[in-house]
Amino acid sequence: MNSAAEVSSPRRGTQSFRRRLIGLIAVGEVGVLAAMALLIAFFWLLEPAFLSERNIRAILNVVSFVGIIAIGQTILLVAGEFDLSVGSVAGLSAVVAAKLMTAAALPVTVGILGGIGVGALIGLLNGLIVVRLGIPAFIQTLGMLFIGQGLIQSVTGGYPVYPLPEAINTIGGTDLAFGLGWSFAFFIIAAVAADFVLRRTVLGRNIYATGGNKEVAHLVGINTNACKIGAFITVGALSAIAGMFVMADLGSGGTSIGSGWELTVIAGVVVGGVSLFGGAGTVAGGVVGILMLKVVQSGLVVIGVNSNWQQIAVGVIMVMAVGLDIVRRRYFIAGA
């Protein structure tokens, strides 16, 4: 009895180490971070200018815009739905806010609140239709993508809204540190807050349950409809905020703000280990995923790869990331 225990103890030591290692790898973000570190080293070796201050700033700046949306999209994916209209909502909110400030001559704060209101309202609409009428999110939000594009054109008549009040240009031009402005600060704060909500709060746990199995969540007394609609509203509002930050950055309410973002955002968060099937993923993962996507895009530009190949690379990375994720789940988490 005694000797058996002695024999097994060193084995248990290595086993627990192995288990901890597996646990670490099983945390989605770690894998993406490692992959990103490798990619950064790779681009830097080929072209040291990749890690120049200017380039880093450029990457972080872009990430701050799409990243804000990625936060919302991650929450929504965890809740078991997704939103393809985020780009349109960002653009529409920006031009509505711009019109309120210029054509309607309303105060800047009213314009901004109006923009957020538009985003939240579209989120609410998406949520209500998906949850109450049972129309798949894919269809509803794809429809909203087109509706949003149309509304952008009809609000602006096809011309960028310009010039904007001075306050907006100030918001866009502020340099808080390292050449990064308010959008980056907002992005970081929102990401930390959202990550905390998902990881540590009752609400977060309820969102995971809703995305994991709606029926079970309902049976344990969770208001799953509220969780889903709330997540849709969050994405809408965050998209609006991102759109307005771009507007401030550009200094005009451009009609192309947000166009094409929906796929970038989904690709990014999926790379970061957020499951398309709901119930799995973290905000940290989603944000790191989108960062990695932007690192690759920028790296390819910096080392001078033809732009067609950049698109191909993004596609390959996304599929690979999801493939790796499936393998990781099967071998590390399942332990089979």
Binding site: Y208, N213, V220, I222, A336
Partner: protein, 516 residues
């Protein structure tokens, strides 16, 4: 049974390791043609793992040991591979294609049923209907599986395995959600297959079934063969002792119906709509449960027992009045029911119970986080303690609270769900098949738990398909047939025959009404 007959299907020195958990450690096992070989053991003993290996769910290469079919070594890369070699399998957990019809499910994975790639819908339905008639099952082959309750889904899976005309058939707890008549029908089929020379491996926790139908038994314990028992030596006590190493005391713990306690749950004129298919709903249900009383709902599959529980819990819309603790409550959703102190343990673990995206611990606390949090933030330490306490109280065996629920054995999953339901200390507890898939020793733990809860004043309303269990455990039984309560009797006032008699009488009466 001539045990010196050469085995049709055999496994030698099977060992299987799941990332550190040694599920099987060198198991030898065989079945001969025309034999029903019981595979017994406690929850987590490795029964399902063994049949999954024999059936290619765990493919060749993921385990050590050899498998022989007809004396030839075989290795299966997948269940489809096993199937094409004549090895059929009914898994423990329900695996159906929700979006397809019953007939399509029965023939899923089969080819050659139509012209080329097209499928003859009509032919499928006809063939499925014939098989169901054979099995003595009343399921419409055209119904969508999504609309079926779990027992009927299980029957669909059994039919799916049987239409393959396998030479070897493995059934992993096929009767866990079936009631008496369906079990009898299934046994008739198994006997027929046996006469045709099919070799069968039969996993169950219901020992009377082993006595009734099996020819030989192998008991697994901690991944090893503890003992092999020939039919001559069958005896419930021997089984239990070899599975758990414990002697069983009394089958059902003593419990006297409470006298003079107030009514805790009262249901008046409750009606629940059936939602098509085999779910007929329930009509005009009046029942009451006193504080500390254990009441059972007896009846056949599809009689509306579960619907009554679902109606009370607000899972489905219902009409009528529900009073809890003397006050009428309006229950429109499970959240309302929970607020009123009602809890429900659902029948189908996979579909309505577990959250596979959350680990063991979070599965227990989900829905119960309010007292474990402050201002909406979960307090990690409190939660961890609550989880550990709950796991210990119910003896949930998992490597850690952070382990995945996917790989818990069926019985441990059930105990986990019990832990979830009990965490809020409900006043009224609705249990739908509480001992489904639970081993004999744990079953007694659950009986004891039920009685203990009743002694503390909790009111229990239980649906169980094993009549013996229901009658042994409950202070009072209500017999449900066709969505109505047709009979009622107290402890000692009737047995299984009384339930069957009232059900038959009710059906006859209904028949008469219909034809009149």
């Amino acid at each position: 049974m001539s045990t010196n007959q050469a085995p049709l299907f055999s496994a030698t020195a099977i060992a299987k390791n799941f990332g550190g958990v040694q599920a099987l450690r060198g198991v030898d096992f065989d079945v001969v043609s025309g034999e029903i070989h019981a595979l017994l053991g406690q929850n987590g003993a490795g029964k399902s793992t063994l049949v999954k290996i024999l059936n290619g769910v765990h493919p060749a290469g993921s385990y050590t040991g050899t498998i022989q079919l007809d004396g030839q070594p075989v290795s299966f890369a997948s269940p489809a591979d096993a199937r094409s070699n004549g090895v059929g399998y009914v898994p423990q957990e329900i695996e159906v294609l929700e979006q397809l019809s019953v007939a399509e499910n029965v023939f899923a994975g089969r080819t050659g049923l139509g012209d080329g790639v097209l499928v003859h819908q009509r032919k499928l339905e006809q063939r499925a209907a014939e098989i169901f008639a054979d099995l003595g099952i009343d399921i419409d082959p055209r119904a969508y599986v999504a609309s079926l309750p779990s027992a009927q889904r299980h029957l669909v899976m059994i039919a799916r395995a049987i239409v393959m005309k396998p030479r070897v058939l493995m059934l992993d707890e096929p009767t866990a959600s079936l009631s008496g008549t369906e079990v009898d029908a299934l046994f008739a089929v198994l006997r027929r297959l046996k006469a045709q020379g099919v070799a069968m491996i039969y996993i169950t926790h219901r020992l009377p079934e082993v006595l009734a139908i099996c020819d030989r038994a192998t008991v697994l314990r901690d991944g090893q063969v503890a003992v092999r028992i020939a039919r001559e030596d069958f005896d419930a006590e021997t089984f239990i002792f070899s599975m758990s190493g414990q002697r069983l005391q009394r089958l059902f713990p003593e419990h006297a119906a409470p006298v003079g306690t107030p009514t805790a749950l009262e249901v008046r004129r409750l009606s629940v709509d059936g939602h098509g298919g085999a779910v007929h709903g329930a009509r005009d249900i009046n029942l009451s449960v006193a504080a500390g009383e254990i009441v059972g709902l007896a009846g056949l599959l599809g009689s509306g027992r579960s619907e009554i529980l679902h109606g009370i819990y607000g899972r489905v819309l219902s009409e009528g009045e529900i009073h809890v603790g003397g006050k009428e409550v309006s229950i429109k959703s499970p959240a309302d029911a929970r607020a009123a102190g009602i809890a429900l343990l659902t029948e189908d673990r996979k579909r309505d119970g577990l959250l596979f995206n959350l680990p063991v611990g979070a599965n227990i606390t989900i829905g119960n986080l309010a007292p474990l949090s402050r201002r909406g933030v979960v307090r990690g330490g409190l939660e961890r303690n609550a989880i550990v306490a709950a796991m210990r109280a119910l003896n949930v065996k998992a490597s850690s609270p952070r382990a995945s629920v996917t790989h818990l054995s069926g019985g441990n999953q059930q105990k986990l769900l019990f832990a979830r339901v009990l965490m809020r200390a409900p006043k009224v507890l609705l249990l739908d098949e509480p001992t489904k898939g639970v081993d004999a020793a744990t079953r007694h733990e659950i009986y004891r738990l039920v009685v203990e809860l009743a002694d503390k004043g909790v009111s229990l309303l239980i649906v169980a398909s094993e009549l013996e269990e229901l009658i042994g455990l409950c202070d009072r039984c209500l017999v449900v047939a066709d969505g109505r309560i047709v009979d009622e009797f107290g402890r000692g006032e009737g047995g299984e025959d009384r339930v069957l008699r009232s059900v038959t009488a009710a059906q006859a009466e209904r028949q008469a009404q219909v034809s009149a």
